[in-house]
Amino acid sequence: MANKTTPARAACRFKPSESIEIWELISGEFSAVIKKLPSEGGSHYAEEVLTISHATQLEVIAHCLSCVPEEACGLLIGDYASEVVDHVVPTENVAHSAMVYTVDPGAFLAADRAAAKQGFDVIGVYHSHTHTEAYPSPTDVSQAPDPGWHYVLVSLRDIVPVFRSYSIVEGTVTEELVVTQ
C-alpha cells in the first residue's frame, strides 16, 4: 500500500508546530483587521472595546425579553477609563413604548449615586429594539448623551437575541468589540 506509512493525522495539512504558526499568523491578521476602521479597509470594528461578563450579558437579554412588547432600558455601571462593565442597573422605560425609551430619571440619579459610592460611573446605556436590528436608530444617535459612553443594543427581531455595542460621537456610530469576560 502506497499510503501505509501515512500518519493518522494525514488529513491535517500542517504539523502541530506549523499549525500554531499559522494560527498566530491568522489571529495576528485578524487583530490587525478588527482594529482598522472601515475607511481603512478593515471590518466595522474599531479599537473601542466593551468588556462585560457572560452573566451580565444574559441579565441584560433577560430584562429585554421580560419587557416585550415594550422596549427595555438600563444603565451600564463600571470604570469609565477601562471600559469594563461591573454590573448593570435595569431601569423603567418611563415612555412605556415599543418604539422609544426614556430611562427613568430618578432611577438614573439613584444609580449614579450608588455607582459613585463604589468608585464607578454610569458608563453607558442598553436598550432593546423589539422589531429592528441591533443598530442605533437616528433617534438613538441624535439623543446620545455622552460620546464616552457605550451604547448597547439588543435586538429581539429574530428568535436568537443579538447583543452589540457602539460608540456614538457627534453623530458618528462605531461598533465596538464586545469582549466577554
Partner: protein, 93 residues
C-alpha cells in the same frame, strides 16, 4: 452656603476631569451661575440661550428634580448634594 455638585462624565472635560465641584449660593440658580463662571465650558450644556435650564439636562437638589421645586429659584442649604444628569432616551422610532 456651599453645596457640592456631581458632574456627569460627559461634562468632566469642562471641569478639568473633576467629578465633584463645590460652589456657594442660596438658590440653585446662584450655585449654577457660580459654577458656569468658574467653568465656562459648562454654560451651553446647562443653560439654553434664554437662560433657562437646558431641556436635555436634569438638575437635582438631593432627590428632587428642580423643575418641580421652583426651577432656578429652588433654595439650597449647606451640605445639599446637587447632581447634573443628562436625559437618557432613544428608541427604534
Amino acid at each position: 452656603m456651599t453645596v457640592s455638585i456631581r458632574i456627569p462624565t460627559v461634562l468632566r472635560p469642562q471641569t478639568g476631569g473633576a467629578a465633584l465641584v463645590a460652589f456657594e449660593g442660596s438658590t440653585i440658580g446662584e450655585v449654577l451661575n457660580q459654577m458656569v463662571a468658574a467653568h465656562p465650558g459648562l454654560a451651553g450644556q446647562v443653560f439654553s440661550a434664554d437662560g433657562s435650564l437646558h431641556k436635555f439636562v436634569n438638575i437635582y437638589v438631593n432627590d428632587d428634580d428642580v423643575r418641580y421645586t421652583g426651577g432656578l429659584e429652588t433654595p439650597v442649604a449647606s451640605g445639599d448634594e446637587v447632581s447634573i444628569l443628562p436625559a437618557v432616551a432613544g428608541g427604534a422610532a
